[in-house]
Amino acid sequence: MRSLWSSSALAAVVIAGLLQGPGTRLTYRVRVLERTGAADSARVLGSGSVSGSLDTGLRLSLRGDSVEVEALLQITPVGDTVSLGAEFFTRRLLARSRRGLPLWEQDSYHRVVRMGWADTARIHPFGRTRDPDARAIWLELALERNFAGGAARPAEELQLSDSLHDFRVEAVLRPRRARVTLNLVRGDTVSGPRPMDLLPQGPSRIVRLVLGRRATSLDVRLTRPQPPRALRDRVLALESDVVCLRVSAPNAPADQSIGVICGSLNNVARRLPLPTGDTLSATFAWPGPR
């Protein structure tokens, strides 16, 4: 009997460990609801979900004609519960200037609540209305966690059933790795692509690119960008999927680089002129699943 109990306890610890570990996939499910007048009647204006690894955040925005609410939600598992933290950034149309231009009031603040995995959090983005029969909009957020065999790429879903409000959900995840593809360009000639997986803030790597018959060696290192200066960008972590590639000559001192290429992981080629007259083209993308 004691052996059975200890086996069960061990199994529970292993399962709990697996659910908290890097193989766990977290899903945020969000619904936007509007009270239609009667006490308990509400209609769904839109719904969406965002999933990814446990450190994935949810960036949501809800915009109307006179108010905009944006929020970055992130969780921290605490035992069997979860601490839900939310950074809000709101803008309200306050008035119009004498020249007819809109005057906006902006606010940013932080909210934290503790909830169970099975709970639903109701978010009142414009504050709670005093009148129980007044037209009101709120969001319902539910969390799910499932075991996932190494799928690290975030995913998003969105369904809208009302066009009056602009509702969006986005996954926010700082990449642990990035797929970097390098090409050397001169005029109409392009070298073969040189793809590689790099770790942000990881060690530098020597890359050899051949264009025509000439080989060019470069020392490349992936870094994270400086924190954004704008309050909204900082609060909503708009630079979360931006990485920077520092390019320097091999064996050059650390403070002497040829240049830095920064960009999101969105498969857009970005270019850096090299002292040799060639142009280095770098494309950043999410790495494939491992």
Binding site: T90, R92, V113, D119, T120, R122, I123, H124
Partner: protein, 113 residues
Amino acid sequence: MAGHEHWLHQIDAELDGELSLAERAALAKHLAACTHCSGARASQLEVRVALARSAGDPHAHVVPRPAIRPRTLTLWVMVAVIMGLAGGWVAYRQWGGPGGEPVEETRALIVVE
């Protein structure tokens, strides 16, 4: 017509006692020949007599002007300032400034169910 305008101004100035002897002589000469201007002068005089009577001085030489004493002026300025401040305070209490409700009431709220 412009000549009549000039003489009407001169009549006004004469009744205020602001004309020189030469100007008064010129005006008298014009009034002797111009029935329109002499009629206007008579009307002006009747208006001034009516004003003097209403001010309680039927034998006045000129139209009595209301005299505002500095103390009275100061008092009324202070009353106006106090009324303005009180009105602003009442309006702010009633309707508030831009974004009048407390900021916490407009902020998002998370409720766990």
